[in-house]
């Protein structure tokens, strides 16, 4: 509005403009992009004009006009802006309010649902806020201010290095570094919004409030998501506090059991909690074997990362996800120098590697679950999501075109998901017999001989700097890694981190669950190495989105950049498959919710815990609730009410309705039992896991 007015004014003022019209048009677009930017621009222009004025004092006798016009334009813009703002505020609230769709809360309230069971929300990784309690001088004035999440991230741009330092943990212990205390923000504000306007739990909270939930029966179990799970108890008593809170809510709400709603990593955190609370002290919470049965009605896992996420692999290996890898290759120079001075990724990686919790998200269950060199449970998955119905035809064309693979029925094996990291496209496609055998011998060979750190680069940023060039190339020469060998790989490239983190997490499959070693807390967050507690009345829900391509395995290359302190590996995003292939930009995609593949989210509910198994001795009922992703139809909808993506699903009305029904007393059968869109049952059948 303002820009149009201004443009008209300019047209009016300048009568015979010919060449400048294009320039002004672009100007217009800029202006539409961001008003404030425009203001800054004009301010800068102002400065430019001053310079101009100094340079050419004689040419224009009345050159002060430039300056004046600048001021005039700024003043004009400001006035118009204020005027519009004033009008905007004068409007009655209802006129401007986007007609919001009535959420499920309103409808269910009309149906007569009321708050019954207390609800505990368990946030996932990254979404929880962190605030500063004690810091270095560079973080002056940030006491009890958010360093992460919640408010704006302005501080990150103001003093990036300082922030990174404060968000990092101690590399050896995985706890606070000396003189720095960063703590989780408690309460519902801890994770309702991640950034202004970017909701995480807020929509769910608002809908729950409609049927009568409030502070006394709604609790956010905020914890420091950077720590390993047991360390949250050691440092902050987070597990004890959660236990006490659940007991209090159980008693003060008339002995109604609690419905827990964990999200993402919160799912395995809560799994850890369930084991911890029944284990005798000092390692556990001493709640006794009946605690879960007595206090918990249902665990409604949203987007559960039960068996890990492949994203964690790329994150730890080279600090990049799908989105980041593009930036890294295209804007290498800009991005590296812009925010953090130099070496953005290296610093980010250095920080992320001090967080134990990321290791908890590495794929669990090895080749049995995630597939080996030539086989994966998802095989036959068709990636062309938009044209699912036409997939048959495209498959046949693929068949014709593809000459690399001889056997026709293996066409679908183009997506060799089992090889979670492969170096080069051929390594990801060729049959395993044609590849050099990969085993951990390589690592033992190189690591012993060449672990003399070459500190020529000065201070070591990441553990990559302690590796020699030779061993870095050796790693790449091994071509392809499955989830099992991947762990060896990580142990090799990040020895200290894995040593630290593997004291807290385990990624295997238990042979014999009665082995006393499984009483150790490092196994508690791995569903394949723990038994569920003895609570036959409890219910477990796996609720997740499907229908979005999700990172499943990666094609890597050696980074061409060989200078000091750089990450030697990089996702090869020049690698693309043909149309309809699951390979795009160096990443193989499978079905999932953009972060967690269906396999990880659904397998335990579909098979591992279904019925009475060795992982679920008391036969706790499990339900799979899948939500097909539908992108928002219009801008008004914001992030969509039928979204299935990892975080946006928290605003999915169907999911919210399910949670509310269960919270107000319904059982899994009453809300409709399983609701499956993906091939999770078929996939689980292919997995050969002893139950």
């Amino acid at each position: 509005m303002a820009s149009v007015l201004r443009f008209r004014k300019l047209c009016y003022v300048e009568s015979a403009v010919k060449c400048t019209s294009v320039g002004y048009e672009s100007f217009e677009i800029d202006e539409k992009l961001d008003k404030k930017e425009e203001d800054v621009l004009s301010a800068n222009n102002f400065a430019l004009e001053i310079n101009k004025k100094r340079k050419q004092p004689k040419r224009q006798p009345k050159e002060w006009r430039c300056l004046d016009s600048c001021c005039w334009i700024i003043g004009y813009l400001c006035t118009t802006w204020w005027l519009l703002l004033f009008f905007y505020h004068c409007f009655p609230v209802t006129l401007l309010r986007v007609p919001e769709l009535p959420g499920p809360g309103v409808r269910l309230k009309r149906e007569g649902l009321t708050a019954l069971h207390p609800v505990v929300l368990v946030p996932g990784i990254v979404t929880g806020g962190l605030e500063l309690w004690e810091g270095r001088p560079c973080a002056d004035g940030l006491f009890r201010k958010r360093l992460w999440g919640g408010g704006s991230f302005t501080q990150i741009f103001k003093r990036p290095l300082c922030l990174l330092e404060h968000l990092s943990l101690h590399y050896e212990t995985g706890l606070d570094p000396q003189g720095i205390r960063v703590r989780a923000v408690p309460g519902l504000v801890g994770a309702d919004y991640f950034a202004p306007g970017y909701f995480v739990w807020a929509v769910l909270i608002e809908n729950l409030a409609k049927i009568g939930y409030e502070g006394k029966n709604l609790h956010m179990a905020a914890y420091d998501w950077r720590l390993s799970f047991q360390n949250t108890e050691i440092r902050d008593h987070a597990l004890t506090r959660l236990k006490s809170k659940i007991e209090l809510m159980y008693i003060s709400n008339g002995y109604k059991k609690v419905v827990a709603v964990p999200h993402s990593m919160g799912v395995i955190y809560f799994l850890h909690f369930l084991k911890w609370v029944e284990t005798p002290p000092p390692m556990g919470g001493g709640g006794g074997p009946g605690w879960c049965a007595k206090h918990i009605k249902a665990v409604m896992n949203i987007g559960p990362a039960f068996l890990g996420v492949p994203k964690a692999v790329s994150n730890l290996f080279s600090a990049e996800g799908k989105d980041v890898s593009y930036i890294r290759s295209y804007g290498a120079g800009v991005f590296d120098s812009e925010i953090l001075g130099l070496q953005t990724f290296e610093r980010v990686m250095r920080m992320a590697r001090t967080w134990d919790s990321i290791v908890s998200l590495l794929p669990k269950g090895g080749e049995v679950i995630w597939g080996n060199m030539d086989r994966s449970p998802e095989e036959g998955h068709v990636c062309d999501f938009s044209k699912k119905s036409h997939s048959k035809t495209s498959l046949t064309t693929n068949n014709v075109n593809n000459s690399d693979v001889k056997r026709g029925f293996l066409v679908k094996d183009l997506a060799n998901y089992g090889r979670i990291i492969s170096f080069g496209k051929p390594a990801s496609i060729l049959h395993s017999s044609k590849l050099p055998t990969s085993d951990s011998k390589v690592f033992s060979r190189t690591s012993t001989s060449e672990n003399f750190n070459n500190f020529s680069c000065g201070e070591a940023w990441t553990e990559y700097d302690e590796m020699s060039r030779q061993s870095i190339q050796n790693v790449a020469a091994d071509k392809a890694y499955t989830t099992t060998t991947l762990l060896d790989l990580l142990r090799f490239v990040a020895t200290k981190m894995m040593r630290r983190a593997e004291a807290h997490f385990s990624h295997g499959i238990a042979e014999n669950l009665d082995d006393p070693k499984y009483n150790h807390y490092k196994y508690w967050s791995n569903p394949l190495e723990t038994k569920l507690s003895d609570a036959p009345d409890m219910e477990i829900y796996c609720m997740y989105g499907v229908g979005i391509p999700t990172e499943r395995s990666y094609v890597y290359k050696l980074s061409p950049n060989s200078r000091c302190k750089s990450i030697p590996y990089q996702i090869d995003n020049s690698v693309h498959g043909e149309d309809g292939s699951c390979l795009k930009g160096g990443v193989y995609f499978a079905d999932g919710d953009e972060s967690v593949p269906v396999l990880s989210a659904g397998f335990m509910c579909a098979k591992g815990w279904r019925g009475r198994t060795r992982f679920n001795p008391s036969g706790i009922a499990t339900y799979i609730r899948e939500y097909r992703h539908k992108p928002p139809t219009s801008l008004m909808e914001g992030r969509g009410i039928e979204s299935g993506s990892h975080v946006d699903i928290m605003g999915n009305f169907a999911l919210i309705e399910d949670i509310m029904r269960v919270a107000s007393g319904a059982t899994g059968d009453e809300i409709g039992g399983d609701q499956i869109h993906s091939d999770i049952i078929k996939m689980s059948e292919r997995i050969n896991l002893g139950l």
Partner: protein, 671 residues
């Protein structure tokens, strides 16, 4: 980004298309000249455009300065401050950290009335979009945007004292609930920051936020707040290796915590069922800050006519302006209607009646407080002079005992000279309430003019008879309040009726728990004139307004008089008189008394008020005012030392400036 693009664009246009560029330049000149030409013709430039120019200029300069400010390293302002005021003293947290103090006992904060934040969980149509936004505390932006809606949501149900249907307003939880009351106006924040210096954090600090509008027992009934506090204290003791907690209540939180200590040991269903040893096991010390143990006179004027000294002046000088300002019309009526639904205000009515607060011709303070406050307390008194001498207004005794009097002459005359109509008789006289047509309902309109006059004819009210007056003018509130609070003095504390929760928050009607190792501190500011008694008048404009008003025209004879603007002041912290804050620790609980059967040691820590030396100090580091004292370095240091393990004796025991012990002697309270 666009800036870059733009510049690039102009550069390229310069280099590539020279001709066009030249034309452009010319046109630019035209552009700048043409408006001038026009303006010279039509006089447009001179007015409208120079306006724009001016605004633009101011904006640019502003942005430029802002840019400079933001790029300036953070140490400069501090450097400037130090250059002006000399090196800053270390805040107590830093100082004590250097001494080697570390986190020891967990700390519980109990905020007072008004300072805690409240947020909306369910509301009417008009409060749309305010879900989980603060209605109270924070910026108060909504108060100005939709005042009537705001007042409606802040009110409670006038019958039950709980939520009205369809509205749920709940306390904010966590430390954020009361760290800042409004932006920049700290309450607990300074204390929290200093405790954090020696290692405290979320797991060792707990803000016992509660809905301060409710009566104390109702916070448990509605929100289970007391259970939550109990559970949290137990949790903190368990997770911190069995270290007992140090509780720090402020203002009304003092009474609330007194209630809690009785509640937690009482058997369910009325109590928390913690058993008789709960306090002894879990609490190391209760450090009451500015505690109105025996009530505050301010609450009387608040209930009676919604005014305290500050508001009273505003109400007389700008009656039209203030009334129209916020609520459209009748600000005070709306405020009164809202505050009268808050049961908690009743908890702070002066307790103990005439025994404590003084009778018609007697008060414990006598004239010992020099209200001029410039000279030190040097007027020695040996005996309270019972005969008022009106001519010697300068040195006369102040009749603090008459909490409300109608007219100055009445306030100063001897009791025998005052003619009074019996209140009860006049109440019965005219029960026909004339129904007024006022839009806003307040209970005054049910009363009727006749009875208002009768109330004024009674002339003088003491702390005992003030209750009758309040019952008379706001029967519903007092009926509700009477079920939750009591204001008397117990004759026999073993009477089973004192098991009821309504007595728990009155220190004169409860026994302290059996916890001889616990310590009780009374910490409060002194040296500020504090409202103690009022002179009222009946307003003339009666139709739809509040019929009573503080008579601000009444002044004492001289500069040093304690009577100013219709208010008698005594020593205190601006809100709570010393008498209320200190008497229990000085006398009622000192040693083994019937109120303190296990002999819990008590300590009085007074902090003499010193206003901030300059503007840079903000609200002062030596303030004694009711809320500002939370930033008093000496008080913070005391708290940190106790939290880190010191006992009251190690702190230095009592620390008294006022005459509280002298006054305590004068009070004839059976112990």
């Amino acid at each position: 980004m666009s800036f870059l693009r733009r510049r690039k664009g102009t550069d390229s246009s310069k280099s590539q298309n020279l001709r066009c560029n030249i034309v452009k330049e010319d046109e630019k000149n035209n552009l700048y000249e043409s408006p001038r030409k026009e303006s010279y013709n039509s006089k447009k430039w001179s007015c409208w455009d120079s306006c724009c120019w001016f605004i633009g200029f101011v904006c640019s300069v502003w942005w430029f300065l802002l840019l400079l400010y933001n790029t300036m390293p953070a140490s400069i302002p501090q450097y400037v401050t130090e250059a002006i005021t000399g090196p800053l003293t270390d805040p107590p947290g830093v100082k004590l950290r250097k001494e080697g103090l570390t986190v020891n006992h967990p700390v519980v904060f109990v905020p007072g009335i008004v300072t805690g934040g409240l947020e909306l969980w369910e509301g009417h149509q008009c409060a749309e979009g305010l879900f989980r936004k603060r209605l109270w505390g924070g910026s108060f932006g909504e108060l100005y945007k939709r005042p009537l809606c705001w007042a409606q949501h802040m009110s409670l149900d006038n019958e039950t004292g709980l939520d009205p249907p369809g509205i749920r307003v709940r306390p904010v939880s966590g430390l954020v609930a009361a760290d800042y009351f409004a932006a920049g106006y700290f309450v607990w924040a300074v204390l929290i920051a200093n405790l954090a210096q020696i290692g405290y954090e979320e797991k060792t600090m707990y803000m016992a936020a509660y809905d301060w509008r409710l009566s104390f027992q109702n916070t448990e009934v509605r929100d289970q707040t007391l259970s939550r506090i109990k559970s949290n204290i137990e949790l903190m003791v368990a997770t911190n290796g069995g270290k007992k907690v140090v509780v720090i209540p402020h203002s009304m939180g003092v009474l609330y915590f007194l209630h809690f200590m009785k509640w937690v040991e009482a058997p369910p269903p009325m109590g928390g069922g913690g058993g008789s040893e709960w306090c002894a096991k879990h609490i190391k010390a209760v450090m009451n800050i500015g505690g109105p143990f025996l009530g505050v006179p301010k609450s009387v004027s608040g209930l009676f006519s919604v005014e305290a000294r500050d508001i009273a002046i505003a109400r007389t000088f700008a009656p039209g302006f203030l009334d129209k300002d916020v609520f459209g019309l009748q600000t005070f009526q709306h405020l009164m209607r809202m505050t009268r639904t808050w049961d908690s205000t009743v908890s702070m009515i002066p307790k103990g009646g005439e025994t404590i607060w003084g009778g018609l011709d007697w008060s414990p303070e006598g004239s010992s407080f020099n209200c001029g406050a410039k000279t030190l307390r040097n007027n020695s008194i040996n005996n309270t002079d019972q005969i008022p001498n009106i001519n010697l207004a300068n040195m006369k005794n102040v009749n603090y005992g008459r909490i409300i009097s109608f007219g100055k002459d009445v306030a100063e005359a001897h009791s025998s000279k005052i003619e009074r109509v019996d209140l009860l008789d006049s109440m019965k006289a005219d029960m026909l309430a004339n129904l007024t047509n006022c839009d806003i309902w307040i209970e005054y309109h049910d009363i009727g003019d006749h009875r208002i006059k009768a109330a004024a004819d009674y002339k003088v009210y003491t702390a005992g008879s003030i209750l009758d007056l309040l019952h008379f003018v706001s029967p519903k509130l007092m009926a509700r309040g009477g079920a939750h609070f009591s204001y008397g003095i117990a004759d026999n504390l073993d009477d089973p009726k004192y098991q009821h929760y309504k007595y728990w928050s009155n220190p004169l009607e409860t026994k302290l728990p059996d916890a001889p190792d616990m310590e009780i501190y009374s910490m409060y500011g002194v040296g500020i004139p504090t409202e103690r008694a009022y002179v009222y008048k009946v307003t003339t404009a009666t139709d739809c307004s509040i019929p009573f008003q503080i008579d601000t025209s009444v002044e004492g004879g001289s500069e040093d008089s304690c009577l100013k603007g219709g208010v008698f002041s005594a020593d205190g912290d601006e809100t709570v008189p010393v008498l209320s804050a200190g008497l229990m620790a000085a006398k009622g609980w000192r040693g083994k008394t019937r109120f303190n059967p296990s002999g819990i040691p008590t300590y009085i820590r007074e902090y003499s008020h010193a206003p901030p030396a300059n503007l840079l100090e903000g609200r002062g580091t030596q303030s004694g005012a009711h809320v500002d004292i939370m930033g008093n370095f000496a008080l913070i240091e005391d708290i940190i030392r106790v939290a880190a393990g010191a006992t009251g004796k190690e702190l230095g025991g009592d620390h008294v400036y006022s005459d509280i012990f002298k006054w305590a002697e004068r009070i004839n309270l059976q112990l």
